[in-house]
Symmetry: C2
Subunit: 314 residues, 2 copies
Amino acid sequence: MAMVIGIDMMGGDFAPLETVKGVELYLSGHNIPARLLLVGDEAQLTPLLKKHKIPMNHVDVVHAPQTIGMFEHPTKALKEKPDSSISTGFKLLASNKIDAFISAGNTGAMLVGTLFSIKAMEGVIRPAISTIIPKMNGGTSLLLDVGLNADCKPEQLNQFAIMGSVYARLVLGIRKPRVGLMNVGEEEGKGNILMQGTYPLLKENKHIHFVGNVEGRDVLMDKADVMVCDGFTGNIILKMAESLFEIYQQSSVKDPYFERFNFENYGGTPVLGVPKPVIIGHGISEAKAFMNMLHLAQMMIEKSVIKKMKEELQ
Amino acid sequence: MAMVIGIDMMGGDFAPLETVKGVELYLSGHNIPARLLLVGDEAQLTPLLKKHKIPMNHVDVVHAPQTIGMFEHPTKALKEKPDSSISTGFKLLASNKIDAFISAGNTGAMLVGTLFSIKAMEGVIRPAISTIIPKMNGGTSLLLDVGLNADCKPEQLNQFAIMGSVYARLVLGIRKPRVGLMNVGEEEGKGNILMQGTYPLLKENKHIHFVGNVEGRDVLMDKADVMVCDGFTGNIILKMAESLFEIYQQSSVKDPYFERFNFENYGGTPVLGVPKPVIIGHGISEAKAFMNMLHLAQMMIEKSVIKKMKEELQ
């Protein structure tokens, strides 16, 4: 059975033009096993799809006349706009019409929609979102959670470590991902109550390759491939890293390392710990980012990332 | 009555040569109201003081034959080495022989020594340590706590806000310091339980100029002059900022902004919330850093920083 990926054509600052161009890029590739369900306003989409010569044997348009704005209140918007592209996408996902859902629209609505429609994977306390952090040595590491869970328990961080490891292995291609606990100080016993409680769990966890604590100074260095923390800490690190690119752009210098802090390069970030891939893009996503998100969804399905996570979490 | 500043001559990677040179620099200035008590091993100090022509009418040497190493266990070392320069310094401070104490030695021993000898100021739940963060626009902001309190209560953060404001006003010369709460999201109600509990306290606090939440992306920007958080979050931010200088040094580019992340420039950081100035320097401190620490101690005494904090905390 062919995989079907749903994409919110109205989500993001440059939609629907850039989403259509992203679909065009994706479908021009060699390996396109996926059928796409394009969710959005037909009146706006039809002429664009024609103009960009999208091969209609690969796609279906699902009409969704409403759009949730970037600054609308997530829960309220989802309730008041049942025919929005995001609401429609989650209905398709929950009823198994699509195998993955992508949007660069309202992040809050995407998160709330995920949690309310397909919910957390069985056994997962709470899903998490991750980010790619460019490392000094040219590699990348995965940081999670970066915002879904401001307050966490040690058991949650232990699950993040497993989910992050599976993702790093299957999607980032890191054979034996080193897991580090984001902390202050190097030794066991250091840190706040959360990290003191988490350390022994990670140490005992047979599903991961735990390498101990990592500190603030290690975030950009090559010390761990997966860095685990609560969503409060992770979000502050992520946003500080994002601001480095802004600072870099304003400065007169050119440096390939700081160039890699352009988070547009990374397409989108998946919600981890849910039974189907949900990928959330930056509001500023352009064609290439949408293409990357489609490839990411395809890869997550092809490599059975979620099935593997489920196994490892048991 | 003249002020007396005590300095650990044996503390830091380049002691006692660089501490002696720092004293020399300080005493060569125009405004030297302070008498210095030089705490350390007389046998090592006497020839150096002679060689650097330290004017002995301005200084006294207090013999301390033992030295606490940079990697010794703080509590154990303080107990086992009562005649170390750090132990001796705190005895002098507790018995009012000196008005301030400076060391670039074992940070942990300095913190433990502070808490056990002079203790927290009356009414202060727990002292804090702060760091200077260089801002993109050329200014500086103060971040606290950066490590003394991994877990905090809202009432502590409220006190950090007051202590930070007084310090920013009197020492950094910022007329009306804007206080920001380190958080995720801009609006009230965002964040983890700690920050949700802290926001209303800061909002009601008449002693500070609260400007709301600041996020990870604002740390290096000009949004607040005093940024308040728990010591876990602050330590991760500090160490990540410190690593920027390391990355910068390894890169081929020259940029005056990243140059300012050289934390050696800032001398030392005071422990805030204790009844007398205690200033802790980086282990890598050289002469200029020691001179800056002596000036900082002098300034804190001259401007009655601690008295002002006490008033504002009531």
